[in-house]
C-alpha cells in the first residue's frame, strides 16, 4: 500500500469541482475524471512514467455519475490505485459504481435537495423577503448540503476503496431522497398557497378565479404527462406570448 499524500488529495478534491468541464458524448466525464485524479496518479507513480501512462489510460475512459457523488468514485479509485489493485478490478469497479452514484445522486440532489431548497427560498420571497435575502438563503442552504456531500463522498471513497457499498448503504441516501421529495411536494403546495394568498387582495375576482381554475387544470394535466411536459409548456407559453405581441402589433 502506497501513501497518497495530503497535497495530492486536496488537489484532487479541488479539481473535482471541474469534473464536468469537458462533458462530451464519447467519454462523458471521463476526461474530467482523469483531470481530477491526475495529482494522485502522479504522486503514486513518481519515477515510473510507464506506470503513470497506464493509469492515465484507464482513468480517461468513459465515466459518468452525479457530479457531486462522482467524488466517491474519485476517492475510491485513488485508494484502489494506492493499494495496487489490478487494472481489471479498477475498471470493473468504476463501471459498476457509476450507475448507482448517478441514480442516487440524481434522485437525492436534482429531485430532492435542489427543489426543496429552491422552493423554500421562493416561499421566503412570497412572504416578503428581500431579493438579497432570498438568494443568499438559497445559496447558503443548498451549498451546505452540496459541499457536505462532496466532502463525505471523497472521504468515504478514500477510506473504504472498493468496499464503499456498505458505507453508502448506511448513509441511506435513497431514503433521504424519498423524504426530501416529500418535503419538495409539501413546499410546492406551500408556494402555490402563498401565491394565491398574495393575489387575494386583487379586487378583480373573475381573474383570480380564472387563474385558480386554469391552475388546477394545469396541475392535473402536468402530473399526468410528467417530466416531459416542460417541452410543450416552454413552446406553448412562448408561442402564446409571441402571438399576443403580434396581435398587439397588427391591431
Amino acid at each position: 500500500m502506497r501513501s497518497i499524500g495530503r497535497t495530492a488529495r486536496w488537489s484532487a478534491f479541488f479539481r473535482s469541482f471541474l469534473v464536468q468541464g469537458s462533458w462530451n458524448n464519447r467519454t462523458m466525464i471521463g476526461g474530467g475524471f482523469a483531470f481530477a485524479i491526475l495529482p494522485v496518479l502522479k504522486r503514486l507513480n513518481r519515477g515510473d512514467p510507464a506506470g503513470l501512462s497506464e493509469a492515465l489510460q484507464r482513468h480517461s475512459e468513459h465515466f459518468n455519475a452525479h457530479p457531486y457523488l462522482s467524488n466517491l468514485a474519485l476517492g475510491a479509485a485513488s485508494r484502489m490505485e494506492a493499494d495496487e489493485h489490478s487494472e481489471e478490478d479498477i475498471r470493473r469497479f468504476k463501471a459498476a459504481v457509476r450507475s448507482p452514484l448517478g441514480g442516487v445522486g440524481d434522485a437525492l440532489v436534482w429531485v430532492g435537495w435542489r427543489p426543496a431548497t429552491v422552493l423554500a427560498a421562493l416561499l421566503l420571497a412570497l412572504a416578503g423577503a428581500t431579493p438579497a435575502f432570498t438568494v443568499l438563503f438559497f445559496l447558503f442552504a443548498y451549498n451546505v448540503g452540496h459541499l457536505a456531500l462532496r466532502l463525505w463522498g471523497f472521504g468515504v471513497g478514500l477510506e473504504r476503496g472498493s468496499r464503499v457499498s456498505e458505507s453508502i448503504r448506511k448513509a441511506a441516501l435513497s431514503k433521504k431522497a424519498d423524504r426530501l421529495s416529500g418535503l419538495g411536494v409539501f413546499l410546492m403546495g406551500g408556494v402555490i398557497g402563498s401565491a394565491i394568498g398574495r393575489s387575494w387582495s386583487i379586487d378583480n375576482w373573475p381573474i383570480l378565479l380564472l387563474a385558480v381554475v386554469g391552475g388546477v387544470w394545469g396541475l392535473w394535466l402536468g402530473s399526468l404527462v410528467g417530466q416531459k411536459v416542460w417541452r410543450w409548456t416552454f413552446l406553448g407559453v412562448s408561442g402564446a406570448i409571441g402571438l399576443i405581441f403580434l396581435v398587439g402589433w397588427i391591431g
Binding site: H62, R92, G102, V111
Partner: protein, 159 residues
C-alpha cells in the same frame, strides 16, 4: 401488471432509468439480466444502492431469465427489464419469446470500432447485425434516452 419496459443500457440502473423512466412508469421492481452481475455479489450490492426506496431489484443470468419471461409478464408486479448489451436481448428473444414487444435502446457508449449514431448511442457493425436479428425475432426497436426525448426508429439507427 407485466413488464412495462425492456431497455438496453450499458449503465443499467442509473439516473435516466430510475428518475426518468421510473417516475413515469412507477415499476415495482427492476430486473437486471446480466451474466457477470448475476455472478458477482459486490456488483449486486452496488447496483442495489441505486434503486429508489420501496422498489425491488433482482439479478438474473440470461439463461435463467429466459424461462421467467412469461411469468414476469403475467405477474401483478410492474417490472422494468434491463440488460447491458444487445446480445443479451438476442439471447432472451431467440425463438420469438419476445415477439411483439417494444425494445427501448437507451445508452450504448463509445468503444473501439463503434461510431456515434446519437449522443447516447454508439454502434459497431456487429451491433447493427444484432439489431436486425432482434427485429426479425419480432421486437419493435427504437432508441430513446428519456420519456420526453424524441424517439428514433430502427431505420434511423441503421441508416
Amino acid at each position: 401488471m407485466s413488464i412495462v419496459l425492456y431497455r438496453v443500457d450499458e449503465r443499467l440502473i442509473h439516473g435516466q432509468v430510475v428518475v426518468g423512466w421510473g417516475s413515469q412508469l412507477r415499476p415495482d421492481r427492476y430486473l437486471v439480466v446480466d451474466a457477470a452481475v448475476a455472478a458477482s455479489e459486490w456488483e449486486q450490492e452496488l447496483y442495489e444502492l441505486g434503486v429508489p426506496e420501496g422498489t425491488g431489484v433482482e439479478f438474473w443470468s440470461p439463461e435463467d431469465a429466459r424461462g421467467m419471461l412469461s411469468s414476469w409478464d403475467e405477474s401483478d408486479l410492474r417490472s422494468v427489464l434491463l440488460a447491458r448489451d444487445l446480445d443479451t436481448f438476442l439471447e432472451l428473444a431467440n425463438g420469438g419469446t419476445l415477439e411483439g414487444k417494444a425494445l427501448n435502446v437507451g445508452g450504448l457508449h463509445l468503444r473501439e470500432g463503434r461510431e456515434e449514431i446519437l449522443p447516447y448511442l454508439f454502434l459497431d457493425p456487429s451491433d447493427r447485425d444484432t439489431l436486425r436479428s432482434l427485429e426479425s425475432e419480432g421486437l419493435s426497436i427504437s432508441a430513446q434516452d428519456l420519456p420526453g426525448s424524441p424517439k428514433v426508429g430502427l431505420e434511423g439507427l441503421l441508416a
